[in-house]
């Protein structure tokens, strides 16, 4: 299952074709502006680039590196155009499964924080 690699070449298609991403028109010809796989859907010609930044879909699994620690969230480098965000609320913390319902505070978020604090003590970093 290999890709066919197309380096920017002259395309001998004429104007009746519509050009999509990764193409440009020069001298009445559609040319590829990026190296990639050509995709032709009816009259639309577009190039899907080989070397592009990651564009995320919901439900994708990613591996990332933490670049920044901010208030209530982390910034993660995932090779996309912008750093991804990991919210503190979106993280499963140790002891999360055995939440002691006896711990309660004024608001729900504050009660979560108190639980975090009591469970930090046994983490060795």
């Amino acid at each position: 299952m290999s890709f066919i690699r197309k380096i920017p070449l002259k395309n001998l298609f004429q104007i009746p074709f519509a050009r999509g991403h990764g193409t440009y028109v020069n001298d009445n010809e559609i040319k590829a502006s990026v190296a990639g796989v050509m995709e032709k859907v009816n009259k639309l010609i577009s190039i899907r680039p080989l070397k592009n930044r990651y564009v995320g879909e919901i439900g994708d699994v990613v591996v990332g590196r933490i670049t920044d620690v901010q208030q209530k969230r982390w910034k993660v480098n995932t090779n996309s155009r912008l750093d991804s965000i990991l919210f503190l609320a979106a993280v499963n913390l140790p002891g999360g499964k055995n939440l002691n319902i006896g711990i309660f505070s004024v608001t729900k978020t504050q009660s979560q924080f108190t639980i975090f604090i009591t469970n930090f003590s046994h983490l060795n970093r």
Binding site: R5, R48, K51, V61, G64, L88
Partner: protein
């Protein structure tokens, strides 16, 4: 009971610091293209011992699952963003930590290390020849690479040979 910003940050730093590697799932995509991630499952979390390989995102084939325990004796996480994490085989029955405790002290045996490095070189060879990466292609590439020494896999002839043989084997399998 007022929480100050520095206390929050120190708390967060105890979990994840700059430079840590995590596996996560994309929860949301904002209009500007940035992603928000979540690790709301025990299989996601901080990654401890292993090797990170960066390839182009377009080479990662979309599959049902991206966590694979390969037959050769290592685990692989194929991130859709092109970051691949190779680590010693994860015992799936070890649970409970929520994925945030790091096991940096346990030494990895040499045989496991060799499997991991060989896998890394195979993945880089496939990536250089622009072949799609998924569990089957990586497993076949590993099998075909056993005739070479691990350092030989970095040479051009070995890379082309490996990609050619893997492609051949995948084609045979497709035809069946």
């Amino acid at each position: 009971m007022r929480r100050r910003n520095t206390e929050d940050e120190q708390m967060m730093r105890k979990f994840l610091q700059e430079g840590d590697l995590i596996s996560a799932e994309v929860q949301n995509v904002y209009t500007d293209g940035s992603l928000s991630l979540h690790t709301r499952s025990l299989k996601y979390g901080k990654l401890s011992q292993g090797v990170l390989v960066k390839v182009f995102p377009s080479l990662i084939k979309r599959c049902k699952t991206h966590f694979h325990n390969l037959a050769c004796g290592a685990s692989v996480i194929l991130g859709n963003n092109g970051f691949i994490w190779i680590s010693p085989t994860i015992n799936t029955d070890v649970e409970g930590s929520g994925g945030f405790t790091q096991n940096l002290n346990e030494p990895v045996p040499r045989s496991d290390r060799e499997v991991i490095v060989r896998l890394r070189n195979c993945i880089l060879a496939l990536a250089q020849c622009k072949m799609a990466l998924y569990d089957t292609s990586i497993q076949y590439a590993y099998d075909e690479s056993l005739k070479y020494e691990i350092d030989e896999l970095l040479k051009q002839e070995a890379i082309f040979d490996l990609a050619f043989l893997t492609q051949h084997r995948l084609r045979i399998q497709d035809e069946q």
